[in-house]
Subunit: 191 residues, 2 copies
Amino acid sequence: MKKKQVALLLAPGFEEAEAIIILDVLTRLDIEVTTLACYSSQTLDSYHGLSVNTDALLTGVTAVLYDAVVIPGGPQGSQNLADNQTVLDFIRRHDDAGKWICPICSAAARVLAPHQLLRGRRYVCSGTLSEAVTDGAYVDAPVVEDGNLLSGQGLGAAFDFAFCLAMRLTGDEARIRRQAEHIYHRLTIAL
Amino acid sequence: MKKKQVALLLAPGFEEAEAIIILDVLTRLDIEVTTLACYSSQTLDSYHGLSVNTDALLTGVTAVLYDAVVIPGGPQGSQNLADNQTVLDFIRRHDDAGKWICPICSAAARVLAPHQLLRGRRYVCSGTLSEAVTDGAYVDAPVVEDGNLLSGQGLGAAFDFAFCLAMRLTGDEARIRRQAEHIYHRLTIAL
């Protein structure tokens, strides 16, 4: 069976631990994660100065349909994603196709909300960013699901968020619980 | 005041989320983290295939004394560190100087124990690796401290491990608790 495919959208300033916890957990569960540079170069720096070489440019995969699109936070990272029309088109195309749209931290408020991509759905984001959001219904919880929108509150929720997304993509709860135990992560949410 | 300096030792196959959670948390607390490639190139791949460009080669900083040395896991990553004499010399030099030695996951068992670098101290590592260790006293806890040896159990303990190291380096408990809350991480250990 073909592995489930996840696009991880990275722009300069992306919250590195959010992005990489998700990459790590999903890969452990046999899901293929492709890091996509939403930028002019495949190499970019994270929020706290880590330089990474992504798998591809987003502009090179605009015809590909992934099973999920993960959108990390980071103050400048999420703003850079929000300012990029290719990113917005990529997310809208996946949302229209019913694929999982997965913002964490500031991403729901900064990337999706200003471009009417929350579409009235329940979501969570970090801090007080929800105060400016008129496009969705904020829920104060580590992980919030509404249809194909799966959002995470912030960095401290990244493991639960990743395991929850893995559950939606694979349905293999026993394996997911084994892996969480294996890495000494205590799940704090229902799967 | 000069920032506290932390060396993060990376070899091909390093556990990316362990390494990067620690980098992220420490940097948020105004501690300077230098990623050091324990390898022939500054660019190397993590356990689950992330390509990163480190700040420097370990061989270029063998005269520098950091406040702490962080040693991440990853099956091949920790083995690559263990097989590298420059790494062992670097760790021993910092240990002799009383600097913090901070293995997480497999690192205590794979890097320190076989080279008599646990020196009888209490430590924790992942899985059943402790069964082959004769050089230290295994303690089953997320984070274990004995003198200047601070060890972490595995990936799920990486946040607590990083906050604990930040506490030892800065002593600023109020700031650390604020930051943990800010990122939605619930500390499960005493600081």
